[in-house]
Every structure is written in C-alpha cells, then in structure tokens.
C-alpha cells in the first residue's frame, strides 16, 4: 500500500478491481464504509462476479477475468479525451514531458524488438532521449510527438468504449458510467483510491494490470495524497515483511537485489545499482545503495566482511537465471533435479498451479521437511485419500520430516501489514505438546550444520562458518535480538559528516535510522528500510499511542512504519509546486517557507525546496513513470494481453497467446487447453469465511462454510443440466475436481467479441486435512505459467469444462 488502511476514510471514490476487499479484508474494508458514511464516498466494483464487496457498492460493472488492462486503458483514454486530467500534477510529477528514443513503437499487440524464439524483447529502443548534459530531454509543453504523453495517447487510441465492451464484455454504458465516476477525481479536491489484490497479480500480465491503474492514478493526481494511492491489500499477515526482508530468490533485504553471474565482483555489482539522477537536482535515493549494501554484508558476516574482501561479496549466491522462483524450482523438482526441500508454513501442494505436477515433483524428492503449526496436505502428499489424493503411497520414496511449530499466539515479534506498519505482538499462550518456535528450529539446523562443517569441512564452508550469530542463547535467538540486528548499530564510532570531530553514534549503539548507515564498514543493518524500528529509543514497533490529531488517519504514534515511520508514500506529491496542499481539507504536508511540516514524515529532505526536488525520490527521474523504459519485460506501456487460456483470441493479434514474453516450460505449454475443448472461463478466489488452507482446521469456520463448491450462472446451469446443490465435475487440461454446484444470479454470462462467455468461479480453502468436509483446490486445474516480470502463476484466468457428476470417493473404509 502507498497509503494505510486508516487513510481510506479520506477518499471520495473507492475502486475495488482485481480484489474483493469486503471478503478478503473485512476489517480494512471498514474504512471504505467510513468514507461512504462520512464523506459520501462512492464505491465501484469491477469484477467477473457480483461479490460481497459488490453487494454494498454504489456501482457494479462486470468484466471478463484477465482483461483489466483494456478496461483501464479505456478509462485513461476517456479521461484524456474528456480533459479529465490533473494537468499540473501530471506535468510536474510524471515523466509525461520526457522524450523517447526514435524506433520505439507498438504494432499488432507487440512493442518493437520482439524475438519470438527467445520469447523476449530487445528493449534498447525503450528509453529516453538523453542530452549532452547526461539528463533526459523534455518538452514541458507536451507538444513534441515523441514525448511520453503523446506516445501514451497514441497507445491508448484503440481502447474505445466499443473496444472495451468487445474485449471485457462490460456493457458500454456500464463502462462509461464507471469511467465518468473515475474521471471526476481529476480535480485536486477529489481523490480516488485503488484497492486491489491477487485479482490483478495472478495473471501472466499481472504487473501490467497494476501499472495501468497506477498510471491512471497519476494522471488523476491521486498518488501521495490522503485518500488516494495504489493499495495492494496483500494476502498473509507478513507477506509484506518477508518481501521487505528479501526472502525471495532474486532479492536481498530492503529491495537490494541478488547478484547475478554478470556481477563478477562488488564494484561491478554496484555499478548497475547506484542510479544517478536523470534530471537536475533530483535525489535518486539509490545513490546510497552502497551504504545499505555494505551494512547488510556486515550484518550477515560481521568481521568476515571487510573492505579487502569486497565485504564478503562472494559469499552471496550469484544467479544464472532471473530467479529460481517457485515455478522454476518445481519444474526442476519435477525433472528430478531437486533432492531436498524445506517447507516452512507453506502448503505448496494446494498453493502452486497444476497439482498433479506438484505431486509428481514432491514424489521425486529424496527428502522433505515441513515446519507448520497445523497438518498440511503437503506434509501428507504421500497419503492416499481416494479421489481427494489418489497417490500410490508405497511407490513414493520421499522421506518426510514434519516439525510442529508455534503460532502467533505463542511467540513475540513483529509483523508488517500492507500499510507497512511493523506491529509488535506478545506471546499469550503456552505452545502445545512439543511445538517449537521457528527461530529455534532454524537455529538448531544451522548450528548443527555449522558444527558438521567445523568438524568435517566441506564445500565452501566460509559463509556458514562466518555467518554472524552472536545471540545471548545461540540455540534460540530472541525476537528483540533479531529486531535490533535488523535495525542496525554502529560497529565503530560513526562521525557526524557536518563535524568530523563529533561522534554521531558511539560504537555498539543502535543507529537511529538508515540515514546513519555508512559504506565504510562502521555500521551494520540487516534491512535498511526497517532501520529505525528498534533504536536507542527502544522498540518502536511496540509503540501504542493511538491518538490521531485532526482525524487524519495517520497515527504516527502507533508502532512503526517503514521507511522512517512514514505513513503515506510520495506524500510530498500531496502539495503543489509551491508546496501548498492540493486540497487544504486533506492536508498531509505543507512547505512553510523553510521546511516541510504536516501530519506525516515528508519523504523528501525536510528542507528540499518544493520547486526543486521531485516527490518520487526512489526514481532517477524524481518523477513517476508513465513510461517505464526497459524496466518491465513486457512493455513500457500496459497493452492488452489475453490469458494463456482464453475463451477469445487477442483482438490485436489473433496468433498471440497470453503474454508474449512470459516464460513457459515445454511440458506445460503442451498442457494448455483450447476453448473448443474447454469452453468456460474459470477463476479462483477466497471466501470470507476462510483463510487459505488454515481455517478448514477450525471447527467454527468449517461450520460457516463447510464444503467445497463452484459457482456458476443460472444460464450455464441450464445449458449443462446442473442443479443447485448438486455434484459437478470440473476439469481442465491438467486435472479435475468434484464440487457442489452453487447456481447463482451473481454470475452472469458476458458477451465478448460477439459470443457469450460463461464464468466458473472456483474458491480455494478445501483439502483432505482438517475439520471441514474433504474437497479440492482450484490449483488442480490452474496452468503452470506465470507473470512475465515476477512469475506469479496465472491462477485467476484459465479454461475448464463442467458437467453434472457424482460425489467424490474417499479411501476405502473411510466414510
């Protein structure tokens, strides 16, 4: 989220698209109802299904899953055509005026430089015109035909209301009503918030869905302001935290990136990351990359990370591919190239696409270790449950070790919510049986391995032997110790740059925040963006002052938000070029002539003059990007792409399938279905009564939504002779599930490109363990292909067929 949950009450228009806030985030959705009740805000829902969010909306428009880009491009076009643009904001705070290299273009659904063999673009032309001064050439008048703004208008031209209806199946008048309501938020005194989640990410073009809305929000001037922003609702309680902390294949902590084989040494690595400003006087905060990186290496390897050994740069694994994401790992596992797997609080058997492939992959493992508070299907993937898990147990040679862990109620620590608040919590219960904390388990495995390396030696032991592990009890580091390490401290006295004689931070003291980190090895910090969470003032994540002066919804005294306790990102953009708030009634920051003051922590230097420094300090431009240069593999502008399995062809390029640059493995390509065999457009989603595969273990939630079902329209039920509450079989090219049918008016057929498209809704939540009735997950049907930029599987749009059926059978002897 760029903003926070409590900030949503400041909005005038909520657009829920690519998400279902009322069902997946009910208590956050409270702030939508507050905005409606107290600001007269309106709520728009655009979704293939009439969801529980739609049930309290002011306006609902249906859309075919996977066509959001066309819809949003259509809205952008509508706003531009009708002069509903926040011009001052767009000109000053985006790269609209920047000139783009000749040669860049878009034709037949493809940008310039496409190589069908490599399934990749040559992105060299996707860039700005750089002047002799090393800065981008701009045309503030937006007259130049090659400026981003005019290229954007050109790119959006095809997305007429008629085209939107043709692609999305959204009736023209409904689309126009939505576009009209959205366009009203182009005035500085009206703002709109976008609430989205996996309805946008789980597509082969997920990143572009989000970009499209971000661009719309930018031209409406809604980024950085109260009640505005791009708000990713996020799934798990700490999915934000684990991403911030870089628990991903291609990341280090704080969005420092993992080195690749190209980064032969530390300097080469740094050379491509310390971005210089592209416009005069801009901050380009990544110029400080080296400070954060060195402090990170010191946090990892302490004294073993020295200037003379490149700060132990070679201890880090270097990637030979963009990432070893879960799809790639399961592909390797399936091919027998993975021997062991550790699965901490994760249920991949039901979470990853193509369950049959997952089962085969897990069966190829020599060993599997699971750590979880609960039974999981993954830990028991080898157990036969009749139709629910039809495996030949005896033939599965995988050794499985299942370790019981504590849960939230039995441990101290912090979780980062989607508003970037790091909130500390305390243990309130005694763990059951022999359950242990994850930190204990990790520490134990690490210490035992380190001991083996000490005694036996082995392959490149240095990173293990030298990993800094100085905790009071190395067998079980405490949450506080780890939190202090994340915040960082001075390893030797840190001097004040202004006055080299003055000690800023004495050796051994916690740094106040990342502004005190150094690149000379005198500081360490596990995760620079979290620095400030636990400094000499104490544990700021445990702060509980819930006062909110003037009801702005910022709550600066409540816990800690990264970075620097900032609650709204890009908040400088809430004020105009003179530093006056666009909307005085929604003031966030204000330039008092000498410095920025207001309700939030400014995200530019407090004394940076309004005219000089742009709000988007993480960008080299200092502005937001309507055109992303070569930073995204599938295009600098969002272009309509169909899902890999779609009931209709791509109207821009009939031969193009899915995202032209998405990686898809050979066997998985063979397992893609076509609409003649699988005529119905399926989508997967969560229900409000359940949380993923956890609450089926809970008797209460199991009673509230007991059994697996699929949702279809009355029309489709009629067409296939399906009765409400009866059993159906749903199958795709990859597998089948059996479910109860819920026949509903909430799903209606859409007319896309002249033909009716029936939607089949498939909730997750059921498996073969727990209190609820045994069932299946949609992943049995989902294709094994992901987003071109971050490899999130396309779980939201795929093809199935459906027919009346009989109940699934459990293993013999089980009722």
């Amino acid at each position: 989220m760029t903003n926070s949950w409590t900030d949503i009450k400041n909005t005038d228009l909520v657009v829920v698209m690519g998400g279902n806030a009322a069902e997946a985030h009910p208590c956050g959705f409270k702030w939508v109802t507050e905005a409606k009740a107290h600001r007269g805000a309106k709520l728009i829902v655009v979704d293939p299904r009439y969801t529980r969010t739609a049930s309290v909306s002011d306006y609902y428009a249906p859309i075919r899953q996977g066509t959001d880009i066309a819809f949003l491009n259509g809205v952008m076009k509508y706003c531009i055509d009708n002069d509903r643009v926040q011009w001052e904001y767009t000109k000053a705070f985006t790269n609209a005026a920047y000139l783009v290299k000749d040669g860049f273009g878009y034709k037949d659904g493809l940008f310039t430089g496409y190589d069908a063999e490599k399934r990749d673009y040559d992105r060299s032309t996707w860039d700005y015109v750089i002047g002799d001064d090393g800065f981008v050439v701009t045309d503030p008048t937006l007259q130049h035909p090659r400026c981003v703004w005019n290229l954007l208008k050109e790119h959006l031209a095809p997305y007429t209301p008629e085209m939107v209806e043709r692609i999305c199946g959204t009736p023209k008048e409904k689309f126009l009503r939505v576009a009209e309501m959205i366009s009203e938020c182009s005035t500085p005194t009206k703002t709109m918030t976008s609430m989205y989640a996996l309805g946008w990410t789980q597509h082969s073009h997920g990143s572009q869905n989000i970009r499209a809305m971000a661009m719309l929000q930018l031209i409406l001037g809604n980024i950085g302001v109260r009640g505005g922003g791009m708000n990713a609702l996020r799934g798990h309680s700490n999915i934000q935290g684990l991403t911030d902390l870089g628990l991903m294949s291609h990341l280090l902590t704080g969005y420092l990136t993992a080195p690749t084989e190209k980064d032969e040494d530390f300097e080469t690595y740094m050379s491509t990351r310390q971005f210089k400003p592209l416009r005069p006087g801009q901050t380009s905060y990544w110029q400080n990359y080296r400070k954060f990186m060195v402090s990170f290496q010191k946090a990892m390897w302490g004294d073993a990370a020295r200037a003379d050994n490149d700060w132990a740069f070679n201890y880090l694994a270097k990637l030979d591919v963009p990432s070893y994401d879960v799809l790639r790992v399961f592909e390797l596992m399936h091919a027998g190239k993975v021997n062991g797997y550790l699965c901490q609080g994760f249920n991949p058997l039901l979470a990853f696409p193509n369950r049959a492939k997952n089962t085969k992959a897990l069966s190829n493992l020599k060993w599997l270790v699971t750590m979880d508070p609960l039974e999981t299907e993954t830990a028991r993937f080898w157990e036969n449950h009749g139709d629910f898990n039809p495996v030949d147990t005896a033939s599965i040679q995988t050794e499985v070790i299942q370790l019981p862990t504590t849960c939230f109620a039995e441990e101290d620590g912090s979780l980062t919510n989607s508003g970037r608040w790091l909130q500390w919590h305390w243990a309130g219960g005694t763990p059951p049986g022999e359950a242990k904390h994850d930190t204990y388990i990790i520490a134990q495995i690490f210490l035992r391995m380190r001991e083996l390396y000490r005694t036996e030696g082995g392959a490149f032991p240095d990173p293990i032997l030298n990993l800094s592990w100085d905790y009071a009890d190395e067998n079980e580091p405490t949450a506080e110790e780890l939190a202090r390490e994340i915040n960082g401290r001075a390893l030797s006295d840190v001097m004040d740059p202004a006055d080299p004689t003055k000690v800023l931070v004495p050796a051994g003291k916690q740094v106040v925040n990342f502004s005190q980190l150094r690149d000379d090895g005198s500081t360490m910090s596990g995760c620079w963006i979290y620095s400030g969470c636990f400094n000499e003032q104490g544990n700021n994540m445990a702060r509980r002052d819930n006062h909110d002066p003037d009801d702005t919804g910022t709550y600066l005294g409540w816990t800690f938000a990264w970075p620097l306790n900032r609650r709204t990102l890009y908040n400088r953009a809430s004020a105009d070029l003179e530093g006056k708030p666009w909307d005085p009634s929604r003031k966030l920051l204000e330039w008092d002539g000498a410095k920025w003051t207001g309700y939030d922590i400014p995200d530019i230097a407090p004394t940076a003059k309004p005219g000089d420094v742009g709000p988007f300090i993480m960008n080299q431009e200092g502005t937001a990007r309507l055109f992303t240069r070569g930073m995204m593999r599938d295009g600098p502008f969002p272009a309509h792409m169909e899902p890999f399995e779609s009931p209709v062809a791509n109207v821009f390029n009939l031969k193009m399938r899915g995202n032209p640059v998405s990686r898809i493995f050979e066997d998985d390509a063979k397992q893609l279905g076509l609409s003649d065999e699988f005529p119905y457009a399926a989508t997967s989603y969560r229900l409000t009564e359940h949380f993923h595969f956890w609450t089926k273990h809970n008797r209460v939630n199991a009673a509230l939504q007991p059994e697996f079902f699929v949702e279809i329209s009355e029309e489709l039920a009629q067409e296939r002779g399906i009765t409400n509450g009866g059993w159906v079989r749903v199958w795709s090219k990859r597998g089948e599930v059996k479910a109860k049918a819920v026949v509903t008016k909430r799903i209606r057929p859409l007319i896309c490109d002249g033909k009716p498209v029936h939607v089949v809704g498939i909730p997750l939540h059921w498996g073969f363990t727990g209190s609820a009735k045994k069932g299946f997950g949609p992943n049995s049907l989902v294709p094994f292909v992901g987003d071109a930029n971050i490899e999130t599987p396309e779980s939201k749009a795929f093809l199935v067929n459906i027919e009346p059926s009989t109940p699934p059978k459990d293993k013999e002897g089980i009722a």
């Binding site: 694994a317 070790i401 109620a409 219960g429 727990g770």
Partner: protein
C-alpha cells in the same frame, strides 16, 4: 503494553450507551449475588490479557488473548478467549469471521504436537525426537550441499549456488523469524528460496 488505555476508556462507556447497565451496580454480597446470579458468569473474569495481532490477512487487526495463567510469569497459559482490541486504530475491536474464531485455530484438533517421520514408502508418520529430527535434517542438507554446491562457474567466478535444495519461507512468521531464516538460507547459498508473495 498499554492496558491502562483500555482501563481509561472503560469509563468512557457512557459513549456506548451501555453506561446505564454498567454504572450504579447494586451492592450485592457474594452469597446473595450467587443466589440471584441471573446472567451467565462473565468468563473473562481474572484472566490474563496479552496484546497480539491477527495472523491471517495483512490488515493485521489488533487482538487481545485472554488466558488462564500468565506465560510472562512462567506459568502455563491456557488461552480461553480471543477478542478484537478496541484500542487498535485499524480494527477498533472488530474482527472478521476468521479473526473472531482465532481461539479455535490455536486450539485446533489438528495442531501438531510432536516431530514426525515418514520413512520412504511408508503409509504412516511415526514419532521422532527433536534431536534425531534436527540431526537428520542437518546431515541430509550438508551431504547434499557438499555434493551439489556450484562453488564457481565455468569462468571460475565464485557463484556459491545451491540449486538441489530449495526452501519456502512462511509469510505468517514474524520479521525476526524471517531475518533468521534469511541468514540461514542465503548463507547456505540456497537460491530456490521464496515465500507466498510470489504466488
């Protein structure tokens, strides 16, 4: 943990209107009160409160855990109830159907109690001690790393890449656990390392 805050605001009950039923309690003696005890006994009486946050979605609602016994005093703490924290700015005491039933998640019959081992080809899990389990895992991992770590690439550049063992981290663990897990996995050179954010 700022329990006082709720104590103070308890007096503000008037605002909720239930003040009429909450003030001017009639002075019944214990025995008499028991005899005329009418409504169900208040089940949170003399329980221990602990501030926590909901482990489900990332709204991260504040909750209060009510337990018999106080783990901070070294006692066994048996959780008897979990309810929304009225002092929390985001949820203001409210909870969704999942959060409201957290007690039965913590106390679910399928909570794991002991380390278990499934031998190759076996159709059941059998108990195993923590020590045996952890030693076994360390051994399996070390042997595989020694056998399959790619220390350097063809050009002789150190790459310290271990692709034959992968790990998934739980995005419901704390940041602190995550940091420990990160150090562990990245120092070993595990590149097949991801969390739920990807899916």
């Amino acid at each position: 943990m700022n329990i006082d805050l709720s104590r103070r605001s308890f007096l503000k009950l008037a605002g909720a209107g239930v003040v009429a039923t909450s003030v001017g309690a009639m002075g019944f003696g214990e025995s008499e009160a028991a005899e005329i005890a009418h409504v169900r006994a208040f089940k949170l009486k003399t329980t221990t409160e602990t501030r926590n946050t909901c482990p489900y979605c990332s709204v991260a609602c504040g909750v209060i855990i009510y337990s018999k016994g106080d783990s901070r005093k070294g006692e066994t703490a048996d959780i008897v109830h979990i309810e929304g924290d009225a002092d929390h700015p985001t949820n203001r005491g409210t909870l969704c159907p999942k959060g409201a039933a957290l007690k039965d998640f913590v106390k679910s019959p399928t909570r794991l109690q002991h380390p278990m081992l499934r031998k190759p080809g076996s159709d059941t899990f059998e108990r195993i001690s923590w020590d045996d389990a952890l030693d076994r895992i360390a051994r399996l991992m070390k042997d595989d790393r020694d056998a399959n770590l790619l220390a350097a690439n063809a050009k002789g550049i150190p790459v310290n890449r271990w692709t034959t063992v992968g790990m998934l981290a739980a995005s419901a663990t704390t940041n602190e656990t995550a940091w420990a897990t990160f150090k562990f996995a990245k120092s070993l050179g595990i590149v097949g390392f991801d969390n739920q954010a990807r899916v």
